[in-house]
């Protein structure tokens, strides 16, 4: 008598449960880590921004919105540093993006050595910002720095121009911030370049071939193919650039201490001084959250305006 062939029952529920467990096991530590080291401190800091928070004191007095009001209406230096920060961001982001796109396109056009150039451009990115800042502070030294000495060799010794090549890069109020911008654009170029390079290599060459067949020149190729199809990369670069630019601190701290006369002082530097020099952690927290909301607004505007997706 033939028996019913039995086959093992697929343990569907166990398989699904096992998969869910794997997912949870991977996600929970990350979430927990984020909550403990980022989320909870942020919530605590936000709450304490409404207090006269001095960590050395036993009691912290509730102030309501006084810290926010002070930053926005009484602290003249806050407005100055906000302007400085916006100036820095407004210049370094578009310039940095344009330059790194240009370099990425150049590197992308190479037949050989792409990897080498990618590495060379990326080296400053992985170098400590403190080390880079110290090095550039020396490069910018008016009398003994390399930059001015090169200018002397070219302008005075070679071209015999009667100019003073001892440019006070970091001690002149008009030049100090641009000098820092040059340094940070140089340092960050490699990172953005690598992202653009990845974006460029993902654009199918068939689009360029088709466009050339239709008689498109270089500028048209750039405007109608390269830039639109790089949009996802640009969104990312712009967003991270804004976040990074608005939070800049290290170069100013190392190179100029926010000077001369606070022309290079940024919001983060200002709130750092309020917290760690005067122990006004509550006020510093309020400034940090004002900065947070400003960045949030910028990113929101950016995402809204760059919603259009290009596809061919």
């Amino acid at each position: 008598m033939a028996t019913k062939a039995t086959r093992p029952v697929a343990p569907t529920k166990i398989r699904l449960a096992g998969r869910r467990f794997m997912v949870l096991a991977a996600v929970i530590p990350t979430v927990a880590f984020y909550l403990i080291w980022v989320g909870i401190p942020m919530i605590y800091t936000f709450v304490m921004s409404f207090h006269d928070w001095n960590p050395l004191k036993a009691q912290q007095q509730f102030l309501g919105l006084a810290n926010y009001a002070e930053a926005l209406t009484k602290d003249r230096l806050f407005m100055t540093v906000l302007r400085n920060t916006l100036y820095y961001t407004a210049v370094t982001i578009p310039l940095g993006m344009a330059l790194s796109l240009f370099v990425a396109m150049l590197v992308n056009s190479l037949r050989r050595g792409v990897g080498l150039f990618r590495t060379l451009y990326f080296i400053p990115v992985i170098t400590s910002m403190v080390a880079v800042s110290i090095m550039w502070a020396w490069l910018y030294q008016p009398k003994f720095g390399l930059i001015n000495n090169l200018l002397r060799v070219v302008l005075v010794d070679t071209l015999h121009l009667s100019v003073n090549p001892n440019i006070p890069w970091l001690t002149n109020k008009q030049m100090a911030m641009p000098a820092i911008m040059i340094m940070t654009i140089w340092q960050g170029l490699g990172f953005t370049m690598v992202l653009f390079l990845a974006g460029l290599t993902s654009i199918p060459s068939v689009y360029y071939e088709a466009a050339r067949l239709d008689g498109a020149g270089r500028w048209s190729l750039l405007r109608h193919i390269t830039l639109p199809l790089l949009q996802p990369t640009m969104i990312f670069v712009l967003a991270t650039g804004i976040i990074g630019g608005m939070q800049v601190f290290t170069p100013m701290y190392v190179m100029t201490q926010g000077g001369p006369a606070n022309v290079t002082k940024t919001i983060v530097f200002h709130l750092y001084q309020k917290a760690f020099h005067v122990y006004r952690f509550g006020y510093a927290s309020a400034m940090a959250f004002i900065l947070f909301f400003i960045i949030l607004v910028f990113i929101f505007i950016q995402f809204r305006t760059q919603r259009v997706r290009w596809e061919y």
Partner: protein
């Protein structure tokens, strides 16, 4: 296959999270001696402020012998007014462990030696020394102490007097070990209350007073045939002397500065204001005296050094310029001596009393600040506090230890008896400082925010070519704002020669 993949990925993520959570700073952070000069409490390792003198102190007294365990060593000192006596029943012979934090690596070397001797004398006591870099020191203390954590003993700096004393983070020194009457009569600044809280309780002790002097490159000095008779008495004399020491390039620009103060311009100006009889703060401590006739005259005097090409704002900061022999002379606080010896050991230099307005000591010869001592954390464990203070009493009652500390910090000792100690007299810088210290004003707290304001609006403004009037106006506003932000411990008017200063100042 995929399940195994998921499992492996999940395991890797889990393990890496666990390892990341468990990793942390080592119990004893590696020493990183980047600290501002003792008198200038800026938090950062900064190009424009002076770093840490890195000379290891060399106590020249023969190290107290490595006594067998339990035997008294370095006892009998009475510098605190109470003789230190060996106590064989310290903590009833029970084991006890203390931690001591400091940021200053050369000083840690001194503590290592002293702790070794002390713990040999009291084998039941162990003291763990922890070096915390200056940049993190106050943040870590601020996080640890209010939570009841942190060290049992920690080194203090008086720039944080208001915050730490005002918030009960320092235990007052017990009078049975540190006699207030004796200290008032025999230690600098005690009578004026420079180390006390508002109730007159002693919160820390001074090692000594630091102030500024002129530094000259000996070779350059000899080159132009100068002698002791050329020591400048006034700032005009200094201008003339500086011209003799300056060298120019073919284009007529300064190639070797005769006198350099880049990076310290604002503090030089500040000292000159005291010399002119003008205090730094208003009497109520809520404002500054910056935009004054004396302030203007002094800033104009300083810019003369640039205008007459004895110095240049394009030059290096005073430390690099003097150390690399691009400048013949400079003005600095005396921590500079130790830094030079450690960084440029071949450089021959000597120090000279700084000039004054009219070549006289009165009304004042500038500002001074104190290097101050270890302090004890208030805690419920009375046994730990008792042993901590016993250690401090043993340390600070000993004359030779106090001389060691004064020489290590290049300060004039605070214990007046040591002014004529042979090692103090033999040190040219400290020997000279001892003679001047009574004419140096101790203003009290020199808040970092105030220091920042002076750096930004005096120092950097002048180097950027801003006019004197504009610089003074901006500085006045910034300094007033800094002083109004918090309450500070202001002691200017306790200056011994207050009657020689400008009368009826605000």
């Amino acid at each position: 296959m995929f399940k195994r993949g998921y499992a492996i990925v999940a395991l890797v993520v889990l393990v890496s999270m666990l390892l990341g959570a468990c990793g942390g700073a080592p119990a004893t952070p590696a020493p990183a001696p980047t600290q501002p000069p003792a008198a200038e409490p800026t938090v950062a390792p900064e190009p424009t402020t002076a770093p840490e003198p890195t000379t290891a102190p060399e106590p020249t007294q023969p190290p107290a012998t490595e006594a067998p365990a339990g035997e008294a060593v370095m006892v009998g000192g009475d510098a605190t007014g109470v003789v230190y006596e060996y106590n064989p029943n310290l903590n009833n012979g029970e084991p006890i462990k203390l931690t001591l934090w400091d940021w200053h690596e050369p000083r840690i070397r001194v503590w290592e030696e002293k702790v070794k001797l002390y713990t040999q004398m009291y084998p039941n006591v162990s003291i763990e020394l922890v070096t915390v870099p200056w940049e993190e020191y106050w943040t870590k203390l601020a996080a640890a102490l209010p939570a009841g954590e942190g060290p049992d003993i920690y080194h203090f700096h008086n720039s944080n007097h208001t915050q730490f004393v005002g918030n009960g983070l320092i235990q007052p020194f017990p009078e049975e070990m540190f006699d207030p009457a004796f200290l008032r009569d025999n230690w600098v600044g005690m009578k004026e209350g420079h180390f006390m809280d508002e109730n007159g309780k002693i919160m820390y002790l001074p090692y000594g007073s630091m102030a500024a002097m002129l530094y000259f490159n000996k070779k350059m000095w000899d080159e132009v045939g100068l002698t002791e008779a050329d020591y400048p008495k006034t700032w005009e004399d200094m201008l003339v002397l500086g011209k003799k020491l300056t060298k120019y390039d073919a284009a007529g620009n300064v190639d070797r500065a005769g006198f350099i103060f880049n990076g310290y311009l604002e503090l030089l100006w500040n000292d000159m204001n005291f010399e002119a009889g003008r205090y730094m703060y208003t009497k109520d401590g809520k404002g500054c005296q910056v935009d004054t006739p004396e302030g203007k005259a002094n800033l104009e005097m300083i810019t003369k050094f640039y205008d007459e090409k004895v110095s240049s704002p394009e030059f290096l900061t005073f430390m690099e310029a003097f150390g690399t022999q691009k400048a013949a002379s400079t003005w600095s606080w005396t921590w500079f001596s130790g830094w030079l010896r450690a960084t440029y050991p071949d450089l021959e230099f000597f120090t000279v009393k700084m000039p004054s307005m009219k070549g006289k000591d009165l009304p004042a010869l500038g500002r001074q600040n104190y290097e101050v001592s270890l302090v004890v954390k208030p805690q419920e464990d009375k046994a730990k506090m008792a042993v901590a203070f016993d250690f401090l009493h043993w340390l600070y009652s000993n004359d030779e230890t106090l001389v060691d500390l004064a020489i290590a910090h290049n300060v004039a000792p605070a214990y007046k008896k040591l002014f004529t100690h042979e090692r103090i007299v033999a040190d040219a810088t400290i020997g000279e400082l001892v003679k001047e210290i009574e004419f140096k004003v101790f203003p009290g707290e020199f808040p970092v925010s105030m220091n920042n304001a002076l750096t930004q609006y005096i120092g950097q403004n002048i180097m950027a070519g801003t006019s004197v009037d504009e610089a003074l106006k901006q500085t006045q506003e910034a300094c007033d704002a800094a002083m109004q932000e918090a309450d500070y411990w202001i002691l200017e008017r306790t200056y011994a020669h207050n009657d020689a200063m400008i009368p009826d100042q605000p």
